[in-house]
């Protein structure tokens, strides 16, 4: 089951560049939350702070607190433990190029030392079914390289890979921006299905996409969160002038 996320006073830097400033946010459990905003506004940095990927960059720094469920991810646990509970899907599909489809999906478990073959088979099948890829790949799971799939299939495989470790939260950083419209709509359907089981945070450039998949939407601008509300409210009656300007296409 998904859990809620409570962000308090979150600040992040790349070197001297203050990319996130005083973010306060409550992301509800088992819902899809979209983050929109122009390029460079900090929304990607924000999701990378939610699974401590931000700090893999040596010049990056974070202050403030993020609680996921009942743990403070910067106080109570190591980055490795956090990332097992908070899965991530990246902008471009990033399959492990040397691995078969099966091994790609099972990699999170296998690399953490899990080796019960029968159970792995079940998890791989369930994850691929959950990511709507099973029927397309079930016949050559172990024969074909993950990198040989089409871009849209690769991205759904990456989603399956993230689901296989059974996270509570799924972060998606523009998961469909490198994909064609058909693949995009498959990913969107998927997000709709998945939010009953996971808390989903999706960064997107595409406002229609945010409107289609998310109950809540946050608008980021210049490292600050300008407005956070129900998606319906953001797109029909935003409180802030800047939000209105952005969604009506006056800038960004």
């Amino acid at each position: 089951m998904g859990v809620g996320i409570e962000v308090t006073n979150l600040n992040a830097w790349y070197g001297t560049n203050h990319t996130l400033q005083d973010i306060q946010l409550h992301i509800p459990a088992n819902h899809a939350t979209a983050l929109i905003g122009p390029s460079g506004c900090g929304k990607s940095t924000f999701v990378r702070c939610l699974n401590r990927m931000h700090e893999t960059n040596p010049i990056a720094r974070v202050t403030g607190s993020v609680r996921i469920g009942d743990i403070d991810i910067y106080q109570d646990a190591s980055p490795v433990e956090i990332r097992r509970r908070v899965g991530m899907v990246f902008q471009r599909p990033n399959p492990f190029p040397t691995m078969s489809i099966y091994d790609n999906v099972a990699s999170g478990l296998k690399l953490n030392g899990y080796s019960n073959k029968k159970h792995l088979d079940e998890i791989v099948e369930r994850s691929l079914r959950n990511s709507a890829l099973w029927d397309e790949v079930k016949d050559d799971l172990k024969k074909k390289s993950g990198a040989s799939l089409s871009g849209g299939q690769q991205q759904r495989m990456c989603i399956a890979r993230a689901l296989a470790v059974d996270p509570e939260v799924l972060l998606m950083d523009e998961p469909a921006s490198a994909l064609d419209p058909v693949s995009t709509s498959k990913i969107e359907d998927l997000i709709f299905e998945l939010k009953s089981q996971y808390t989903i945070v999706i960064v997107t450039h595409n406002m229609q996409q945010a409107a289609r998949v998310a109950e809540k939407t946050g608008f980021f601008l210049n490292g600050r969160m300008v407005e956070f509300d129900s998606t319906h409210k953001i797109f029909t009656n935003p409180s802030d002038k800047r939000t209105e300007d952005y969604i009506t296409g006056r800038f960004g």
Binding site: N51, M53, T56, P58, P79, V80, E81, I82, R83, R84, R85, G87, M88, F90, R92, N94, P95, F96, P97, T98, M99, S100, S107, G108, L111, N112, D140, K143, K144, S145, A147, S148, C158, R161, A162, V165
Partner: protein, 290 residues
């Protein structure tokens, strides 16, 4: 219709330039391949006649007796290269992993990289003398071990630098994918990044291996050579390049013939070893893997 003639002229010019460039590339390729083919053909011509069963099964005969072979040198080279690989490849790969994955941008890494490049340029005879004073003198005897160490040290810089280069070519998105799954960094480095880079890393190891397989100078003060059977790490040991050197500068025609045979065998064994490693490591690669 001025415009119509212009592109036409242009395309003739372009296709001429294209053909010129292709011709130059083909010529350069031939020049690259020609010396190798010439050496190989000449070696077969000079050396094939002295290859027989005895060459691979007998030790050298004393001066004046005909026949004999280089069996001890073939085994000796295998022992020396085994020691060198066991020593040089893990250290070299470890150093490359440090440079690419942990020390990126640090002063220490830059110093290590610089040292490796200098080490690569150290004349091989100097490596022999260094190992002579570090191992042979304290032990009071020449040994296969010291020869293997000298060759192993020579392998390190090549392996380190190619490993580093190959790891840097692995896209960061692949590292992030592993870390994003909650895989510990060390595990990600070994099972994901290094594995993804492995074809290039293996090529680097093979280059280093093939290079030291033909080295003579570092062995003169270390492995020393041996006219008799020995596979002990603690005794002087024969090696193909040493044996070729000794035979080639001798005044005896019989030994000259054996030297040519030895050179041919050395090249063939290197090609076989490299091909075997390539074959073994290429199995299990999946359809469509990049």
């Amino acid at each position: 219709m001025k415009m119509a003639t212009k592109p036409n002229l242009h395309s003739k010019y372009r296709s001429a330039v294209d053909q010129l460039a292709t011709g130059l590339a083909v010529a350069a390729t031939l020049l690259v391949v020609a010396p190798l083919v010439a050496i190989f053909v000449y070696l077969i011509f000079k050396g094939a006649s002295s290859l027989n069963l005895a060459f691979f099964t007998h030790v050298p005969k004393p001066v004046g007796e005909t026949g004999g072979g280089m069996a001890n040198a073939i085994v000796g080279s295998a022992v020396l290269l085994g020691v060198a690989s066991v020593l040089g490849i893990p250290i070299g790969i470890g150093g490359g992993i440090y440079l690419a994955e942990y020390g990126r941008g640090t002063k220490f890494a830059n110093a290590v990289r610089f040292t490796a490049d200098v080490l690569n340029g150290v004349p091989s005879i100097v490596m022999g003398i260094a190992v002579y004073s570090l191992i042979v003198i304290p032990q009071h005897h020449f040994s296969a071990f010291s020869g293997g160490v000298a060759l192993g040290i020579m392998m390190i810089p090549t392996v380190t630098r190619t490993t580093e280069e190959m790891l840097l070519m692995v896209p960061n998105s692949v590292r992030e994918a592993a870390l994003g799954l909650g895989v510990p960094n060390w595990r990600s480095v070994l099972s994901i990044t290094l594995k993804t880079a492995s074809p290039g890393v293996i090529t680097g190891c093979m280059l280093a291996f093939a290079r030291v397989a033909g080295e003579t100078a570092p062995l003169i003060f270390t492995a020393f050579g041996n006219q008799f059977w020995s596979a002990s790490l603690n005794e002087p040991i024969a090696a193909l390049p040493l044996q070729i050197y000794v035979y080639a500068i001798s005044p005896y025609d019989e030994w000259h013939r054996l030297a040519w045979g030895g050179a041919l065998v050395l090249i063939i064994l290197i090609v076989l070893a490299v091909s075997l490693v390539r074959y073994v490591t290429s199995r299990g690669i999946l359809k469509g893997a990049s």
